[in-house]
Symmetry: C2
């Protein structure tokens, strides 16, 4: 039965970095994210006996190579839940550039998981669904629940799941994504992550993270934007510090990224409440309050940034009737 | 008696970052550097009863503010060694841009210390001289001995000193300084250093440093350039990781710095043995073997870098008869 789901990408406020179990994709630490309502993947899945092979299309192109392989593996997981061999057709569309550090695999696998499971006529709790999605792409589990989401690292498949900790409308923050470059990353996040524990600072990070997670949750609970922004910005640098000091060492920052980070700090010095975050890529997330949104937008335009995506905390992954085929 | 000394600036291979005692300028860790023979300060000091006040001139300008205060304090130290109050005239010249992370205070206070002590007609061992220079500017103690120099952190004034561990001609490495920008730093190194221990990674750094120091010395002893370059590059990122993750967080990298770091790594991938290092600033040090020097130079020119300073391991701080007045 043909089913379609829409999922938001998410921005990690506490990052997912390093695995305790590669096969089960169990992370070494809890992470916390916020869904981004304007970075979306829509995916239609149709499990049906009319197909003799699995067909996969992403953004108008027939999938191939590693991306296709990951999708087929996920189809196998969903089939094995029901113990059938039915083939499927999958068509997926992103409304934002992929491979530039905007986490299209998070929204992609979240939408795929919900559409696939529903197409298979299975009914699963959200918590179970996040665990299944996690197996395909770790951070995708955080795109399934709504708003601000915590991913519990867990100790096995069932205890490693994501859940909403604050709803999307809890806080009027805005994330402006400044697309400083559309160039694709030369190193995949999943590859860079395998060397997380080669950084001399990795162990210390793990020791201090639980306290940091507690503080960020507290800043959201109290809607304390200054505390929130400072913690989020520090966490972004912590991730890049781990990547730069690992073996091999990775530089994901672009010259344009550094330029803009420095600008953001100068704007803040002038009294504008704006902070930045980064994923494993070069495009910068600028976090501000709704009241300052247009000011931040105009400053970005003045810096020559043409491609700006405005996000508010986003909803859960949900079904829609607007099928892609 | 008028005396003139010439000192090299130095590049820290293991960085000096963080103080155990601010007044005595005792660092929290041992550091290791190499003198740079083409980044030089020449300083003439004349203690004489003809002067009624101390006169200080740097690069053709009368010194004022904080730089002058640090110099007067150092004059007081030298006077107190002999228990006199004789005033002095000091004239100092740098052959490179100051305030851009090329450590002019290292070469400056090293030359000043030797010229001042000699002008005062004192005879001191090199080891003692490094400790006195350290009081004025920590890293200046490393510019006094020749070649590759270790600064022992020590526990008090006398045990915190620098000494040569390999002579300048021990190894044919070349340091090409790429001056990506002449803009002056907005934050002084000494200020940024006071918040070293606010980084979540600082403690771990201190635990792992002794092993790293041992390995870098081993790589110099064996003239193992690959091991040497990898360790030096990792150490540069470690310093900047500490600065970026501190409170406040500092970004010393410029867009041009990131651009060039990425280039250096791509050149290395193509088989050229070149590594980078950074001090607390944006200008990049490119380390290579003598045999590759002209290749690295040409690649830098092709990148549009106009200002390139070529250094070999430099000599100790020494006296000269070519006085500046």
């Amino acid at each position: 039965m043909k089913k379609t789901a829409v999922a938001c990408s998410n921005l990690a406020l506490i990052k997912y970095w390093g695995l305790q179990d590669e096969n089960l994709r169990l992370p070494v630490n809890d992470s916390l994210s916020v869904n981004l309502d304007n970075l979306r993947t829509t995916t239609t899945v149709d499990f049906s006996s009319v197909y003799t092979v699995d067909q996969v299309e992403i953004d108008g192109q027939k999938a191939s190579g590693r991306p296709k392989m990951r999708i087929i593996q996920h189809l196998e997981r969903i089939r094995s839940l029901k113990g059938v061999k039915t083939r499927a057709r999958i068509v997926s569309k992103n409304n934002f550039p992929v491979g530039t550090g905007l986490s299209s695999s998070a929204s992609g696998f979240a939408a795929f998981t919900l559409a696939g499971i529903t197409s298979m006529e299975l009914q699963l709790e959200e918590k179970v669904m996040t665990s299944i999605s996690r197996l395909a792409s770790g951070s995708s589990c955080r795109s399934i629940p709504a708003g601000f989401v915590q991913w519990h690292k867990g100790k096995n498949h069932h205890t490693s799941f994501a859940e909403s900790v604050f709803p999307a409308d809890y806080w009027d923050i805005v994330d402006l994504v400044a697309v400083v470059s559309n160039r694709k990353k030369t190193v995949a996040t999943s590859l860079a992550m395998t060397s997380a524990d080669t950084s001399p600072f990795f162990r210390e990070r793990l020791i201090l993270l639980p306290e940091k997670l507690k503080m960020i949750k507290e800043s959201i609970r109290n809607r304390d934007f200054e505390q929130f922004g400072n913690l989020v910005e520090a966490e972004a640098f912590e991730l890049h510090a781990i990547m730069m000091t690992g073996k091999p060492s990775y530089i994901f920052l672009y010259p344009e990224t550094i330029q803009l980070m420095t600008k953001v700090r100068s704007w803040r010095k002038s009294g504008l409440e704006v902070y930045f975050s980064l994923n494993t890529g070069h495009n910068l997330h600028l976090l501000s309050r709704e009241v300052d949104q247009s000011k931040v937008y105009q400053l970005l335009r003045k810096e020559g940034i043409k491609d700006i995506i405005i996000n508010r905390p986003g909803p859960a992954t949900r079904l829609t009737d607007r099928h892609l085929f």
